[in-house]
């Protein structure tokens, strides 16, 4: 088990190095000049060249890469070209909103999806099952920003139940924090409901077909709630897997949801940075995103042993 964890951690480092090389090349080989953007509209070419020199952008690519890599190795993600703030600090300021959004989304999506999935499996091959599955597909057929606008219009502008936009740190009270997160989490969660509900339904069906459940049923010892408990427990493994994959999808969805609901999270940070060609931020955030993704999947793999003692490493 320990050897497995160490091996996985090592391969994580390799994966991160690959991500680093890839992102660096992507940014530096494509057109776009932060110096020109910094210098503003009235700048002369000489001023732009001056800024490029100061930023080290005139150096050969390998030199720039080694310099960057050296800093990364020491845990230094660099400084924003525009604001001069350390990337780590900028990311730190944006972590809470993004994590809050991801967690509440996951909570809403999993609760809703598992309920739907179990219900569909229970009523398998009836019209309830079919309807639920079609409705769940519709959930990810509509672009997230359209859903977001509609929810804002109904619940924030017309009914005035919830705020339109923004984020309140949890330290300023759980209620305001939650009020700000309801609409974005529902918007973002809808896309994952379909995915998780389908997997839940399938695993439930598998488990329900297993011999011991059938035996239990035949013997008449189990009532329905016990069955459900058994079945759900065994369906845990595939559901956790989906959550692992879902983290990647969630990150992608966060970018759009944060824009629509003006949540000052990491997604917005990186989208703004791309528009400004703020290389250190883009590189840093993508590295962090990837690191989290890899770690979450590591944790997911390890948690299999907890959910299902039959799995061993």
């Amino acid at each position: 088990m320990l050897a497995y964890v160490i091996r996985r951690l090592l391969s994580t480092l390799i994966v991160m190095a690959i991500v680093g090389i890839f992102v660096f090349l992507l940014l530096h080989l494509s057109p776009g000049d932060p110096a020109a953007i910094i210098a503003g509209d009235n700048a002369t070419p000489e001023q732009i060249t001056g800024i490029r020199q100061r930023l080290g952008l005139e150096d050969p690519l390998p030199v720039q890469f080694l310099r960057w890599f050296g800093h990364i190795a020491q845990g230094d993600l660099g400084v924003s070209i525009f604001s001069n703030e350390p990337v780590l600090k900028l990311v730190g300021q944006r972590l809470e909103p993004t994590i809050s959004l991801a967690l509440t989304t996951l909570l809403i999506a999993v609760t809703l999806a598992v309920t739907l999935g179990v219900l569909a499996a229970w009523k398998a091959d009836t019209w309830v099952d079919r309807l639920l599955m079609v409705v769940s597909v519709l959930g990810f057929s509509v672009p997230g920003f359209v859903v977001g606008y509609l929810l804002i219009y109904v619940f924030a502008i017309e009914l005035r139940w919830l705020p339109v936009q923004g984020y309140t740190p949890i330290a300023e009270g759980v209620v305001p924090w939650a009020r700000n997160l309801v609409l974005p989490s529902v918007t973002l969660g809808l896309a994952y409901v379909a995915l998780i509900a389908r997997i839940t339904r399938a695993s439930m069906l598998d488990v329900l077909a297993e011999d011991y459940i059938r035996t239990a049923k035949a013997k008449g010892v189990a009532n329905q709630s016990m069955l459900l408990k058994h079945a759900l427990k065994n369906a845990g493994v595939p559901i956790v897997t989906v959550i692992g994959i879902g983290v990647a999808l969630l990150f992608s969805g966060v970018v759009i949801t944060e824009t629509v609901f003006n949540i000052p999270g990491i997604g917005r940070l990186v989208v703004d940075a791309i528009a400004k060609r703020d290389y250190p931020i883009i590189q840093g955030v993508i590295l962090i995103f990837s690191g989290v993704y890899v770690l979450v999947n590591l944790i997911v793999d390890l948690s299999y042993t907890l959910i299902d003692p039959r799995i061993r490493y």
Partner: protein, 534 residues
């Protein structure tokens, strides 16, 4: 490096502790009623208003720094930090004396040294400052509160430059920051203005927080543009960076924000119906759509092809496509923008005649256009540029020109427009941008008015007469003489055609109707003097 910065920080904190103890000890956050939440046109990406020409940096500067002079609503420079000033009889030596009691938010008094250092740094970056400093021989400091500017020849525009609101504004910083290399950003943001930047509460890219400067002593005159008393009536100003136009409008309607600088004109109808919202054009000289031509390569190295572009342009079409509501845009034939002091109608017959695609086609033919593709750079994330790209493409095709429309985000346009190669080797023929009407009205300080070849702004036009006329404008000593020079410059410009305009728009701002004392002016959105009724 790190430790040095920490020491500096500790030092600065200690200074603040002695000077203004009330700032250091935690204060309760100001109430919502005493807080102004504003969404501006963009993000405050960089904080140094001398280093960048971005308007957002200038707004930031306007809150935390003060200026020596400030223009009033008649565009006349009035003393602001300056108590008294005089000009020697030979018109070569200006002497300035500062007001009593001026202090930076860090506690130190503002001295003549700070002013001279700030002017010198500004003059390296600003177009007007550069023009002026070619005639400056010395800037001696006389005493703590007195300094001079000594000239080689009379320069009537000196006070206008020190008090102008267009970027770069001559904001007065501490000597410590002002002695930073002008090509490098400053890292401490300390001024003597009506507000103090609250770094701790700000979140880069999300929101920027400014607290009332309790030690600021405003002038006694009423506020008028950049001049008069800058009274902070709100305890806190928060500039939020909110990018989605629909969300911005919804937030304003819900009262979550108080001020929206540029609501999307497509959503303005909704706001006009809302009794709690007031809509006002704050900047009456607006913004000009700017179609820049590359003078280095065919076809626009030929003046006939450039003239063709004048006849091809139908400004109100682009405006209508982008802004819809005719209240908020117009066509303008003056090279100095309309509703500005330099607006005039010299040599604008082509404009009065309106779009004439046949004439354009004929001129392209006379220019020897050989069918090579004309490369248009268009920004996909700026709506008026996107629409300008699409419509110019349609018009050029109608005039028999082959077009290659290259779309990227604005960052991509900015990178490619600097390329002087032929269009098929990474260069370009046309790109779109915009500049404020107030900026345009100034023949000297707008870099785009220069036609000095390789040193000129992107497009690199050459015209000696234009350069002579710009100097003549700056040297003119009466308003009449200045207007005459401006007319002559426009007469000449529409013959050699440095660039083309695709309309002028007056973006309205929207704000909660209970706000009072909003100052509408070009180039800057000042939040001093703004309070809340009730």
């Amino acid at each position: 490096m790190n430790t040095r910065r920490q020491i500096l920080k500790v030092g600065a904190a200690a200074g603040a502790l002695i000077a203004a103890p009330s700032l250091v000890f935690a204060q309760p956050a100001p109430t919502r009623a005493r807080t102004l939440r504003a969404v501006m046109h963009g993000d405050l990406a960089a904080f140094d208003p001398i280093w960048t020409t971005a308007n957002m940096a200038s707004y930031h500067g306007g809150l935390i720094y003060d200026t020596l002079f400030g223009i009033d609503s008649q565009n006349q420079p009035q003393p602001q930090m300056v108590q008294s000033f005089n000009l020697s009889d030979d018109k070569l030596t200006w002497t300035f004396v500062l007001r009593d009691g001026l202090r930076f938010s860090s506690g130190e008094p503002v001295t003549a040294k700070d002013c001279v250092a700030s002017i010198r740094r500004w003059a390296v970056r600003d177009g007007g400052g550069q023009h002026m400093f070619r005639r400056v021989t010395d800037t001696p400091v006389v005493d703590e509160k007195t300094f001079r500017i000594v000239l080689r020849e009379p320069y009537p525009l000196l006070l206008d430059w020190l008090g102008k609101a267009a970027t770069n504004v001559c904001y007065i910083m501490r000597e410590k920051e002002a002695s930073t290399d002008p090509q490098t950003q400053i890292t401490e943001y300390i001024g003597s203005g009506p507000f103090i930047y609250n770094r701790g509460e700000s979140r880069q890219g999300a929101r920027y927080v400014y607290d009332r400067n309790p030690n600021y002593v405003p002038r006694s005159e009423p506020a008028s543009f950049m001049s008069g008393g800058k009274v902070a009536r709100m305890d806190r100003i928060i500039m939020e960076n909110m990018s989605d136009p629909q969300t911005q409008v919804s937030a304003l309607q819900a009262g979550e924000i108080d001020f929206l600088e540029w609501p999307s004109l497509d959503l303005i109808d909704t706001l006009e119906k809302d009794r709690n919202i007031k809509i006002e054009v704050m900047n009456q000289s607006g913004t000009m759509g700017w179609c820049r031509l590359n003078h280095l390569h065919p076809p626009f190295n030929n003046v006939l092809a450039r003239r063709a572009m004048l006849h091809l342009t139908h400004p109100t079409e682009i405006m209508k496509a982008t802004f819809g509501n005719e209240k908020y845009f117009r066509a303008c034939g003056s090279i100095f923008a309309c509703n500005t002091p330099t607006e005039n109608d010299a040599n604008t017959d082509w404009f009065k005649a309106g779009q004439n695609i046949d004439r354009a086609r004929q001129l392209f033919r006379e220019a020897g256009y050989d069918g090579r593709p004309v490369v248009l750079l268009s920004a996909s994330n700026v709506l008026h540029m996107t629409n300008a790209g699409l419509l110019y493409q349609q018009w050029l095709k109608a005039a028999g020109v082959n077009v290659e429309l290259v779309t990227s985000d604005w960052g991509g346009v900015v990178a490619r427009r600097a390329n002087r190669n032929p269009p098929d080797q990474g260069g370009w023929n046309i790109f779109f941008t915009s500049a404020s009407g107030a900026g345009y009205s100034n023949p000297v300080s707008l870099a785009g008015h220069a036609s000095n070849g390789a040193n000129a702004w992107f497009g690199w036009p050459t015209d000696e007469r234009n350069e002579q006329l710009r100097d003549a404008w700056a040297a003119a000593s009466t308003p009449e003489a200045r207007m005459q020079a401006a007319r002559a410059m426009q007469e000449n410009a529409w013959n050699y055609v440095p660039h083309v305009h695709y309309g002028q728009w007056l973006a309205p701002s929207a704000y909660r109707a209970n706000l009072t004392g909003m100052i509408g002016m070009p180039e800057l959105v000042p939040f001093w003097n703004v309070g809340r009724a009730g």
